[in-house]
Symmetry: C2
Subunit: 434 residues, 2 copies
């Protein structure tokens, strides 16, 4: 038996969110942090910059969560209502904090901004609250511990650059100290590529209900499926043991080559690590992806170990001049063809003196397609010292998606080639690449 | 006087959202669509895949909004509770729809998936509701018009690839027909770059309160500020007139060169358009950004008009071999220097025979910095037929941010150079670039 979890609700303030100007990434961030501390997030609510709406949301949240976190609305303007609404709700006066006041004055002076009274409003927090100093901005946050009358209320500044350090510095330690989890929760993610969701679903079917302490979910993107395990245990030992054993049960059902990473791993990070471990260098020749593959491969700190140079050859002339693609090849088969992909990959590998040459040429769209070569048709070349192979894929997305999925596939080609001793001939079980 | 707006609440279902696995982009999308139709979104709520939580959220939403849209929870599994909760809430039986049933059977057959009874659950909708067929997936959505007892309830599938077409096809026409706006709302965005938020704030100060029908907001990112105007009018004519006149008032206060676009314009789209209009070609030589600039410049459909080739020269040897940077320059000043940026830009312009050559060389981090050349230090070269200039910036972000902001600045350099007759010497009023 596990004790019932501490619950939390996240309230985000901001009319921009209700207008759809951007997604509520603060709620996402706070949810992740809270779940990692064993706190179960039960609701998100977003309200406009409006005192009545926030008051009502706070009342509702107070009845259904042990901790209420409010993000945003702590700035200096009339629109910033969080401070006043919370103080009224817990029936405490707002009092200025001298350290916060000094900090605000110092920051404005440094930046040559004239000090106006309304800006100093930000140094006020409800009496008896725990103040959270804001070293990345001006407005401090605060924590009001739970009483008989209300749950624990935490108010944080909205800008992520201010919120995140404050959460790391003060909120997580507060939660660790005051809400030491009766339930220990950990999430693992296993990242797969090249296998359809339905196949994974069937392979793992009985594991979905094998252990009540483990919740399994599949998150499918195009060409990739993430397997997510959420483990709830009643002790740290139990959690550690399940974290050891259950992912192994899943991995035994999968082809090891189809698993590219775990948890925060990205595809490019896994590929980069493989290249570093094997002391291999790769060079890219890109047409329709226009540098996207190169950008992803260099997203990894330390990528200079495996990249010296990459080429974006957008025009036919550049393919000839830079990579040595034959004019005749382009004339006979066109830029979007396996023959051109072959010569691009072969050319870039020689040019960069790399272990692996990879090329992408296709029609990203929305224009440029034809009946014979529709939008989303992309050819790939993979060149190693063992030879050159080409691959053909048909994607059905918009321009950005076709470019993104092309780079996913190219990264996977590099990955599988390294895993197979630089064999350029990769066979895929679940889709055609001829 | 404007009549009170029709209000809406968006309820998103999905335990993944409460676990922070991804942001609630469905709520964002729906908010944007509703605001464009003159519907005021007053709350977002996210709940887990749990009937009790959804029931409670639906009850609360019904008391504070005229339209409640529920996203997700229409799939075939036990976790998918929306259909049942809504039917119970409006006190109607769930009835199968034969057309939806046929569609599901056809889709499964085509894909060779065996038909199981539980999958057909998806063809059921509450009696007397308006069914929304799902041509991109299996589960239909539905609309239950408002009665004395409950508001209008709209249930939509969670996957964006299914939700968006359904909204375009059926939900927007339904709203247009049934909620013809007493208030007409339109949002304009003016995108600026290179001017601090505080300066824009001061320049526009009186305009913030000049007209009750116009709400102004500044959304600041690093180096860029978006000015958002939301206009509420009581007639279409009034809306059109304000849309003509008010943005002009703002533009008169700004330096035209600092405005790079409007509404959905991105920086790369604006730069691409400028290059096409002026029949100019650009070539990039990138080091620390590793292809990011090239990727953004080719994000634009039709970019082959202004890009033929770009080079990622990550190693010193590649800078020498590919771009003709002098070994002596690298030895004397290092790869991250104005001298190297100069030779990279000059070299790539000549190599590609382009009108503009642009180079980026810097330290993206997190490693590779020193006291003299810290992480975030980036040099830029801008070469045209009129000469070559270099620029220095210091950024304070993580690896991804430093790379992103570097490409923002490089795109802005290209833009300002084109606006100034290919002058490579750009002066910035608000920050040092020496």
């Amino acid at each position: 038996m596990t004790a019932p979890n501490t619950t939390a609700e996240i309230i985000s303030t901001g009319t921009e969110i209700l207008q759809g100007l951007y997604p509520d990434t603060n709620a996402q961030y706070l949810s992740k942090v809270l779940n990692e501390q064993g706190i179960q997030v039960v609701y998100h609510t977003a309200v406009g910059d409006d005192a009545d709406a926030l008051r009502s949301a706070l009342q509702i949240a107070s009845q259904r969560a042990d901790i209420v976190i409010i993000g945003g609305g702590l700035g200096p303007t009339q629109d910033d209502v969080t401070r006043d609404v919370v103080a009224e709700f817990v029936n405490k006066p707002l009092l200025p904090d001298s350290k916060a006041e000094e900090w605000i004055k110092k920051r404005l002076t440094e930046r040559g901004i004239p000090l106006q009274d309304y800006i100093l409003r930000q140094s006020c927090v409800p009496a008896d609250s725990l103040i959270l100093y804001n070293y990345e901005g001006t407005a401090p946050g605060f924590i009001i511990p739970a009483t008989q009358a209300h749950p624990c209320i935490i108010a944080l500044p909205g800008p992520p650059r201010e919120m995140h350090p404050m959460v790391e510095r003060d909120v997580i330690p507060f939660i660790k100290k005051n809400y030491a989890g009766a339930v220990f929760i950990r999430t693992h993610i296993i990242h797969t590529i090249g296998v359809p969701e339905s196949f994974i679903n069937t392979s793992l079917r009985d594991l979905f209900t094998a252990d009540k302490r483990v919740t399994l979910a599949l998150l499918a993107k195009v060409g990739m499926v993430d397997i997510r395990l959420t483990i709830s245990a009643s002790s740290s030992d139990e959690l550690n043991e399940l974290s050891e054993t259950f992912p192994q049960k899943i991995l035994k059902r999968l082809n090891p080559e189809d698993v590219y990473g775990f948890d925060d791993d990205t595809l490019e990070l896994s590929v980069g690590r493989l290249l570093i471990d094997n002391k291999l260098r790769v060079a890219c020749a890109e047409s329709c992806t226009g540098g996207f593959l190169s950008m992803r491969l260099t997203n990894v700190s330390g990528s200079s170990a495996y990249i010296t140079e990459n080429y974006v050859t957008y025009s036919n002339d550049a393919k000839i001049k830079v990579l040595g693609v034959k004019a005749q090849t382009l004339a006979n088969y066109g830029a979007v063809s396996s023959q051109t992909a072959y010569e691009m990959a072969d050319g870039v590998r020689r040019l960069a003196d790399a272990d692996i040459g990879i090329s992408i040429t296709g029609i990203a769209g929305p224009t440029g397609g034809s009946a014979e070569k529709p939008v989303g048709l992309v050819y790939f070349g993979l060149a190693t010292k063992r030879g050159v192979s080409t691959y053909k894929r048909q994607f059905y997305g918009n321009r950005h998606e076709n470019r993104l999925w092309s780079t996913d596939f190219a990264l996977d080609l590099i990955r599988r080639s390294v895993l197979n001793g630089l064999n350029p001939e990769i066979s895929f079980r679940f889709f055609n690449t001829d």
